[in-house]
């Protein structure tokens, strides 16, 4: 039902890329990203905690096998990269991997499905807030897409807020681990006396090292966001070309299965690498 009714392609695209927001300016909250991300995170934790509580050391069931495979995979990745002892890094990596994967996987839901469903909910439970761009005589889907609730976006990782929140969390951990393993003095020394160990070059070093430090969360968040946002845009564009969208959607979705897992894995791996760099003495 792409670009149907009174919507122009531009309106359709911007509709799909606009988050469902309440509030204004910085105090605004993207209900869709926040809500879906939390629901997915809770689902992940519930599922894994459920498996963990029922975990048997004997012959495991199929669900336990799947969960254990994931846990072992993450554990192996962490042990290969992060050499200092820490009981925190592996759960962190697991949370990042599974959570990001689940949020990315929301992209495989057809682009119009969630907005229309949310719009129908809106029409049912909050019919007074209809914008009224389309008349009462329009089709039910068009009226659903007209409802403000239909700005619901399925994949939280197509929102820069989500990826940046994760990256800032990792950034804070980088600083924490740097200070913990090198001491505050060691951390400051690393920032000021690298790569040129001379007092007169301290400002130059500081700029260089700060850029390196800041680049980590920025690149981390923008990589995930960029990949997913671009993919989402292509999904939306494909959704506008009529009947031929079906095979194209399929092909793009199949390709995206790779992107989804890969981006989650890269985010996890880079987090481990950054933290291991932060906790290693030079």
């Amino acid at each position: 039902m792409a670009a149907n009714g009174n919507m122009t392609p531009t309106e359709y695209i911007s509709h799909h890329l606009t988050p469902l927001q309440i509030g204004e300016g910085f105090m605004a909250v993207n209900i869709d990203s926040l809500g879906i991300a939390i629901v997915l995170g809770v689902f992940f934790l519930w599922l894994f905690a459920y498996v963990g509580r029922k975990a048997t050391t004997g012959v495991p069931g199929k669900l336990q096998c799947a969960v254990e495979m994931l846990v072992e995979f993450v554990d192996k990745s962490v042990k290969e990269t992060f050499h200092a002892k820490s009981r925190f890094i592996a759960p962190l990596a697991l949370t990042i991997f599974v959570w990001v994967f689940l949020m990315n996987a929301m992209k495989l839901i057809p682009v119009d499905f969630v907005p229309v469903l949310a719009g129908l909910f809106g029409l049912t439970f909050a019919s007074s807030s209809v914008k009224g761009y389309v008349g009462e005589d329009a089709g039910i889907f068009e009226r659903a897409m007209d409802h403000p609730w239909s700005y619901m976006k399925a994949a939280p990782t197509t929102d820069l807020n989500t990826t940046l929140a994760l990256a800032i969390g990792v950034f804070l951990l980088i600083i924490f681990y740097s200070v913990k393993h090198k001491g505050l003095g060691g951390f400051i020394k690393e920032l000021t006396l690298n790569p040129f160990n001379h007092w007169s070059l301290i400002p130059f070093n500081l700029v260089l090292e700060l850029v390196t430090l800041i680049a980590k969360p920025i690149s981390l968040s923008l990589r995930l966001f960029g990949n997913l946002y671009a993919g989402e845009l292509i999904f939306i564009l494909i959704a506008m070309i009529g009947l031929w969208q079906l095979p194209l959607h399929f092909a793009w979705a199949v390709f995206h299965i790779l992107v989804i897992v890969l981006q989650a894995f890269i985010f996890m791996m880079l987090t481990i690498v950054y933290l291991s760099m932060a906790s290693e003495k030079h």
Partner: protein
């Protein structure tokens, strides 16, 4: 696509999720995995050990079997020897018995022959006397002529 309060909310959610994962999700699963690994390792070790034991038991059984075979062969050998010896002994005894029986038979026959000969001699003497009586057709004092008869008998 502005940065807004969502970021703060998600950051808090992220922290909470990671802490929850570290406290309640990761430990039981990794413990289960590690315990199972230990179990499998000890199981494999036990099976290795059992295999070795089996090998040992097999070797021992083989050894004992061989010893038993050798012993059995010795016993059979001994028995054979003994049987041969027994047969030989019996044969010898039989031979001796036969010889003895034959010898006694011979003596018996000899005695019988002697007896018969004596009998015959006596009969013949009587016959000779009777013949002589007939020839002489007279009364001969048997007592008087007995020395002649004796002579005659001895000559026979």
């Amino acid at each position: 696509m502005d940065i807004n309060l969502t970021l703060v909310g998600l950051l808090i959610a992220f922290v909470v999720f990671v802490l929850f994962c570290m406290k309640y999700v990761w430990p039981p699963i990794i413990n289960a995995i590690e315990e199972r690994q230990q179990k499998i390792a000890s199981g494999l070790e036990a099976s290795d050990l059992a295999e070795k034991d089996l090998e040992k038991a097999r070797a021992q059984a083989n050894e004992e079997l061989n010893a038993a075979k050798i012993e059995a062969a010795a016993i059979i050998d001994q028995a054979k020897k003994r049987a041969t010896k027994l047969v030989e002994e019996e044969t010898q005894r039989g031979h001796a018995e036969r010889e003895k029986i034959i010898a006694s038979g011979h003596t018996e026959v000899e005695t019988e022959r002697n007896r018969v000969r004596e009998e015959l001699r006596k009969q013949l003497s009587i016959l000779a006397i009777a013949g002589a009586e007939k020839i002489l057709e007279r009364e001969i004092d048997a007592q008087k002529q007995s020395d002649i008869v004796e002579k005659l008998v001895a000559e026979l």
